[in-house]
């Protein structure tokens, strides 16, 4: 991805860094990818503009949209991918479906502070699956691969089953793909820099991924 862009907004939000996918996984899942941006941000209460934006989003999200959501191209692409990797999207919800369901259940998008709110806004607006990590604990570029024998996820008991799809840095697994984040890698009160990662699957256009990362990063930067 090119860092120099004519788009003025890219001047103050860093360009996404493309991660890699293990070749044998990439050959099974063409279109699978991971990209991330890092921004200086501290976790905490969301400022009023962010909370207002969540309220505006709540007003724009209806029950009928929730029913039709799975027919829209990007949420559908994630549902398909979930099925293909053995997850039931009606039990382990895709990020955008989970947020929409919570919105209907709670009567609005609840503010959970930063960086959660920034991610929620970007996920609902674009449908792209985003994750946040403590950038200070992530070593090198993120990747998607299958777990090696004997590998485990910090904070989770036991070893990972061989072949489990994970997000990893150069050193260790940082989280299950569409699952929990490793202890020590998740954003914590001491975090000073946040890495926002987008998982792209077949059917999700690159522009949507870039838009999601930009939305999340700019919200975090502005806060």
């Amino acid at each position: 991805m090119s860092a120099d862009s004519a788009d003025p907004r890219m001047g103050w939000v860093p360009a996404p860094r493309q991660g890699w996918v293990a070749p044998h996984i990439a050959s099974e899942f063409p279109g699978l990818g991971i990209a991330s941006v890092e921004v200086d941000a501290k976790p905490g209460k969301s400022p009023e503009p962010v909370r207002r934006r969540l309220r505006d989003l709540s007003d724009r999200t209806y029950g009928s949209q929730a029913i039709r959501l799975r027919e829209r191209p990007i949420p559908w692409a994630y549902r398909v991918f979930f099925r293909q990797i053995g997850l039931d999207p009606d039990r382990t919800r895709t990020p955008v479906e989970q947020l929409t369901l919570d919105r209907l259940h709670d009567g609005g998008f609840r503010s959970n502070g930063l960086p959660g709110d920034a991610l929620d806004i970007a996920i609902v607006e674009t449908g792209v699956a985003l994750r946040a990590f403590d950038a200070g604990s992530v070593l090198g570029a993120l990747c998607i691969r299958d777990s090696a024998p004997g590998e485990s996820l910090a904070g989770m008991p036991g070893e990972l089953e061989k072949g489990t799809l994970i997000i990893a840095d150069e050193l260790q697994p940082v989280g299950l793909l569409f699952g929990p984040t490793a202890a020590g890698i998740a954003v914590a009160p001491g975090t000073r820099r946040v890495a926002v990662a987008a998982v792209q699957v077949k059917g999700v256009p690159q522009i949507a991924v870039e838009e999601a990362l930009w939305l999340a990063a700019s919200t975090l930067e502005a806060a």
């Binding site: 050959s27 099974e28 799975r70 027919e71 099925r83 293909q84 053995g86 039931d88 489990t164 799809l165």
Partner: protein, 182 residues
């Protein structure tokens, strides 16, 4: 056509067949994933179409707990599960359509001859329509109409107003409060 340069590979039968199986299996997995994508789209469409009219089965059992690259058998199980749900969902929708058509015909018959359908009540929901309301065959002027055979179909005026419901809730709350021991 086999060329001479391709012969050594053909002669190393073991390597060749191994390579063929690996490629063939991967191709089969890709093909199954394409079928899963198509069936998921179909099921999503049927689910959305049926919502509010009838319940369609859409749950498919998962073959693996943590996310992983599914093998051929597991992908086949997902594909077959989705295909079965799509079939059931289509059937449920067709059945619902049949019921709604029958109800529409019933309403038309009621409107044409209310006397033949005494006290029959059909709701908008029975016709697959949104909102409240119903068609009710009842006598004009109560008991007098019953005796005289003056029947008509009364069409209700729709959903109760929110204010009215609120008043009912307040009334219920007040009643409960008065019953509470002090």
């Amino acid at each position: 056509m086999t060329t001479i340069s391709g012969m050594p590979a053909l002669l190393r039968q073991e390597e060749f067949s191994g390579f063929g199986v690996a490629v063939g299996e991967r191709e089969a997995r890709l093909q199954l994933r394409r079928q899963i994508a198509r069936l998921e789209a179909e099921l999503s469409g049927l689910f959305a179409e049926a919502f509010g009219h009838t319940e369609v089965p859409h749950r498919v059992e998962v073959p693996a707990a943590p996310p992983r690259v599914l093998d051929l058998g597991q992908l086949e199980a997902v594909r077959d599960g989705l295909a079965a749900r799509v079939g059931e969902a289509r059937e449920a929708l067709v059945e619902r359509g049949r019921v709604e058509t029958a109800n529409r015909e019933l309403v038309e018959a009621m409107l044409a001859a209310p006397r033949d359908y005494k006290w029959v009540r059909v709701s908008r929901e029975d016709l697959g329509l949104h909102g409240c309301g119903h068609w009710h065959s009842r006598p004009r002027l109560g008991p007098i109409g019953m005796l005289m055979g003056w029947w008509r179909v009364k069409i209700s005026s729709g959903c109760p107003l929110a204010g009215r419901l609120e008043a009912v809730e307040r009334e219920v709350e007040a009643r409960q409060a008065s019953r509470r021991p002090r």
